[in-house]
């Protein structure tokens, strides 16, 4: 019997061994795959188990966290939610994150390894760092001015500092309050449904995620191409343009909305936005050179991150001459985000070089030590400095005695370009009113701000006047806010 008892004991030992081996398999060998299973809520619980780091504007947080006492404990709050929504995005327990909340999520949630005092320290201790803070480049006054300027209209504003690429304002209206999406209760789901189904798309970030036909504001690019390529050598020389202009290879006649465009000089054509002159210039420059010039300004760039992605602005690369003529005046398939057009204005203001636009000044730990700082990179030289000088002159003329007089600021040099873009089937939609501008205070060496404004539902009469009428005052308000000491 003794022998059989020993056998039975060995059998029990085998069972014990099986349990130990299996526990090792579950807890060590396969642990990672279980931990990463999307149905495993532990990551989410840990993530919301501590207050989220903040996004700072002008040195003050525009976000917060409140303790809900539920399983996903800390919910995101926003001060001035609708104003900063195009920058912060939302951080929802249910719907995830977007925009800055998304790109800086590791830092804000405290999982970024850079926050650890020692490498791998947290893996060992299972501790989580408190969430770090994101310091943005925004100018709260400019942001507020843009938001107030757009008011109840649909539209967007992007403003940046030409010499550095720091984004000073990024506004999209109508907006929404991201706080509505924080938490897990049914109100969040209802808000999500409502915001997604709303006809005016409050969650669309029009400043960087929506492209519009830039209309006449694109003539800045065409003018730069013409000057750089030598098609135009003197801005006061007549350009030998007919009015109306028959598009090459088609019977379509392009007309102007202002008088005196026939054979006008580049200066006049720019100030009064003559379509015929610029269409002809685009054709004269040629498709390849126009495309290259647009690309130098940042069109067709799919890589731009500010740090979140920006919809690429487009300049069609395969066009016949008629299409090229239309493309050169910002129609046909030419499309641009407000941010892209602010970069165009910024390039003119910054002696022809485009600085990479960026929103994040630096990131810090929760007690303020810098984790990383955004360097400044010259994106590319978009035009000769000499061309930039002449274009500044032309843009200044627009504000002083052209379509952009509404943008003038006392005590500062302002250059601008208005635009109207038709869209819709047979251009039946309400035209978009555009205005792009830059401003330099009289007592400073460098332009302090470049801005692009688009208003989707301009109520004015058709014509470039509406660009100057609807959008220019908003641009002026934003620039004034930046220039104000």
């Amino acid at each position: 019997m003794t022998r059989y008892i020993r056998h039975a004991a060995a059998f029990c030992a085998l069972l014990l061994l099986a349990l130990l081996v299996n526990a090792t398999r579950i807890q060590l060998v396969q642990a990672r795959s279980y931990d990463e299973n999307p149905a495993n809520r532990r990551h989410t619980i840990a993530r919301y188990g501590q207050p989220r780091g903040d996004i700072l504007v002008g040195g003050k947080p525009v976000t917060g966290s409140k303790d809900s006492g539920e399983q996903f404990r800390y919910e995101r709050t926003y001060k001035n939610g609708p104003l900063y929504a195009p920058v912060t995005g939302f951080a929802s327990q249910v719907y995830g994150t977007n925009l800055l909340e998304d790109t800086e999520d590791d830092l804000l949630a405290g999982t970024d390894p850079l926050l650890s005092p020692l490498p791998l320290w947290n893996d060992l201790t299972r501790a989580r760092n408190p969430g770090g803070d994101v310091v943005t480049t925004l100018d709260p006054a400019a942001q507020q001015a843009a938001y107030a300027g757009l008011g109840a209209r649909r539209g967007a504003v992007a403003a940046l500092e030409p010499s550095t690429g720091r984004i000073l304002a990024l506004v999209s209206t109508p907006s929404y309050d991201p706080e509505e999406l924080s938490g897990t209760d049914s109100a969040v789901a209802r808000a999500w449904m409502r915001l997604n189904e709303a006809a005016d798309k409050p969650m669309l970030n029009r400043a960087v995620r929506q492209t519009y036909p830039p209309g006449s504001t694109f003539k800045v690019v065409t003018a730069a191409a013409a000057l750089d390529s030598g098609v135009v050598e003197d801005v006061d020389e007549p350009t030998k343009s007919p009015d109306p202009y028959r598009l090459p290879g088609s019977s379509v006649r392009l007309v102007n909305e202002v008088e005196g465009c026939a054979d006008a000089s580049l200066r006049y054509a720019f100030a009064w936005s003559c379509n015929t002159v610029f269409a002809k210039l685009g054709v004269a420059v040629g498709a390849a050179a126009m495309r290259a010039k647009a690309a130098e300004f940042g069109f067709n760039d799919r890589q731009l991150r500010i740090p979140f992605g920006v919809s690429p602005s487009t300049f069609d690369t395969r066009v016949d001459e008629a299409q090229l003529a239309l493309s050169s005046i910002g129609q046909y398939n030419t499309r641009a985000t407000p941010l892209q057009m602010a970069m165009v204005a910024g390039a003119v203001a910054n002696n022809g070089s485009v600085r990479t636009p960026h929103l994040v000044e630096r990131t810090t730990t929760d007690d303020g030590d810098t984790v990383s700082a955004t360097g400044q990179h010259t994106l590319r030289q978009a035009m000769n400095p000499a061309t930039a000088v002449r274009l500044r002159e032309l843009m200044t003329d627009v504000v002083e005695r052209g379509t952009g007089t509404h943008a003038a600021i006392p005590g500062a040099t302002v250059g601008g370009k208005s635009g109207t873009a038709q869209h819709g089937i047979h251009n039946s939609g309400t035209p978009y009113a555009w205005f792009i501008a830059w401003a330099k205070a009289d007592d400073s060496m460098e332009p302090a701000v470049a801005v692009a404004v688009v208003v989707e539902d301009a109520e004015d009469e058709r014509g470039d006047i509406s660009g100057g009428g609807d959008a220019a005052p908003i641009a002026r308000a934003v620039m004034e806010a930046v220039l104000a000491p």
Binding site: Y4, I5, L15, L16, L20, I26, Q27, L28, A39, R126
Partner: protein, 498 residues
């Protein structure tokens, strides 16, 4: 009992030996067990609120008093008993209370720890009663058939009560719910041990030969078939796969230990497999358990979220090597039954592989000590009872621990001492009391004294270790009388008539 061919010789005059009692060691280990439990209790509070919970002193005192009373009973009534059994039981029970208290923090509306403490007190009370009142385990042999009848009644009772979560294993009386199946385990162990001790030889002889199989005679085969039917019946009527597995496993182990016949134990296993397979296909409750075991993440892929087993695996995986720390895991996500069947997942998540292995080893030690008592005892009934009780613990641990870690299909069963479940705690305390009684006679009986004396005499000639082995060998030889005539692998020594 003597097998033929052994020589009998008179006892040599036994020198007076002081057998080791080891009560001091037991006491120290109990102190350690209580302190560990209190430490765990404090750790939960500190992790959750940052301060030592106010109930810590009361909890420690309560557990300490219970353990001390049990220790006193052992000291007085079972002085030679194994010093490890009681501390292990105290530690597991204390740890179980800590884990349940920790899970209660997540469900303030549904507190289980106070109830569990009451049941533990009752368990220790019964432990003391068994140790004090049962002076000799052989008394139990008289109640072999009473035991089996009582066990059957207990097993059948819940059929008349409403089912809970798909299993009819509960009696609800005056607000208390009792699982009679738990008590039936001990009674069945007594019955098996008694029955097999009495019919060992008859079972070992072969009866009719059918084709290739040597069947035992019908008279002894009857009860075996009956037991098999019982376990399948339990499975069908009560949807309790775990208990059914346990009964069958227990019976097979004891049958093997009693007779050494492997041949038709294999047949029995085959029958059990067929039965289980058939029931598994026909019975949706059991069938779904098997499906879950094969595909724990099927519900996730189907978009219904993780089921309990998946949540349990997530909890174990989150624990990793060292665990999250008590009070810091999220095993509450398992939801229903997290304090009972899935208590091990909380241990695995918060104490990690290190803590889980420690718990497994504690159970292993408990089982090993039971087996050791079985080996040292002389009477077949005692040996079988010790092996049976130890096997109950081993099989229970394997069935439920294997279930929640995805090793075998999940069956509802309480982790001994650890899980919430009054009947289970009480039953396991009784099991430990019986094992203590058995080990007391194994280590303190007259044979033990004799063996010790002989060993002492032989130390002059041999190294201590060898002498010990010899004494053991002697002890084994004493147990002789098995059907094989002699135990293989043992030195044939002169045997002493009991």
């Amino acid at each position: 009992m003597l097998s033929p061919g052994t020589t009998v010789q008179a006892d040599p005059p036994a020198p007076v030996v002081r057998l080791p009692r080891r009560r001091g060691i037991e006491f120290s280990l109990i102190v350690v067990a209580v302190l560990l439990s209190v430490y765990g209790y404090c750790a939960v509070g500190i992790a959750r609120t940052g301060s030592v919970p106010p109930g810590a002193a009361g909890y420690g005192a309560g557990l300490g008093v219970l353990a001390l009373l049990a220790h006193l009973a052992v000291r007085l009534r079972a002085p030679y008993a194994d010093p490890l059994l009681l501390p292990i039981a105290v530690l597991l029970n204390g740890l179980g209370l800590v884990l349940i208290y920790r899970l209660d923090l997540e469900t303030p509306a549904d507190r289980a720890a106070p109830t569990q403490l009451v049941w533990s007190t009752l368990g220790v009370g019964l432990f003391i009663a068994v140790v004090v009142l049962l002076r000799d385990h052989r008394v139990l042999q008289r109640y072999t058939y009473v035991s089996v009848v009582t066990a059957l009644v207990l097993l059948v009772l819940p059929v008349f009560f409403p089912s809970v979560n798909g299993a009819r294993i509960w009696l609800r009386i005056a607000g208390f719910s009792i699982q009679p199946g738990e008590f039936a385990k001990v009674l069945l162990a007594v019955f098996f041990a008694g029955y097999l001790a009495a019919n060992r030889n008859a079972l070992a002889y072969t009866g009719r030969r059918v084709w290739l199989l040597q069947l035992p005679t019908g008279r002894v085969l009857g009860p075996i078939v009956a037991i098999w039917l019982l376990s399948v019946g339990v499975l069908v009527l009560e949807r309790d796969l775990g208990t059914s597995l346990l009964f069958f496993g227990l019976f097979v182990v004891l049958l093997y230990v009693a007779t050494g016949r492997t041949g038709w134990i294999a047949v029995g296993l085959l029958l059990a497999a067929c039965g289980a397979f058939a029931v598994g296909w026909l019975e949706p409750h059991v069938h779904s358990r098997v499906e879950d075991w094969l595909h724990p993440f099927a519900s996730i892929e189907a978009g219904r979220g993780p089921n309990q087993l998946a949540q349990s695996l997530f909890a174990f995986a989150d624990g990793g090597l060292l665990g999250t720390g008590l009070g810091l895991g999220h095993s509450i996500l398992i939801g229903f039954a997290v304090k009972s069947d899935f208590i091990l997942a909380t241990a695995g998540e918060e104490l990690g592989l290190a803590g889980l292995s420690a718990i497994f080893l504690l159970y292993g030690l408990l089982v090993e000590r039971g087996y050791r008592a079985g080996l040292a005892l002389r009477d077949p009934f005692g040996r079988l009872l010790a092996v049976g009780l130890a096997s109950i613990v081993a099989l229970q641990v394997f069935v439920i621990a294997g279930g929640v870690t995805g090793l075998i299909p999940l069956t509802g069963m309480a982790m001994p001492f650890l899980a919430q479940g009054g009947s289970s705690v009480v039953t396991n305390w009784i099991i430990v009391a019986l094992l203590l009684r058995l080990s007391d006679s194994a280590r303190g009986g007259p044979e033990a004294a004799k063996a010790k004396a002989e060993a002492k005499a032989e130390t002059k000639a041999k190294a201590k270790a060898k002498a010990k082995a010899k004494a053991k060998a002697k002890a084994k030889a004493q147990a002789g009388g098995n059907a094989e005539g002699k135990a293989g692998g043992e030195t044939e020594e002169e045997r002493v008539a009991p």
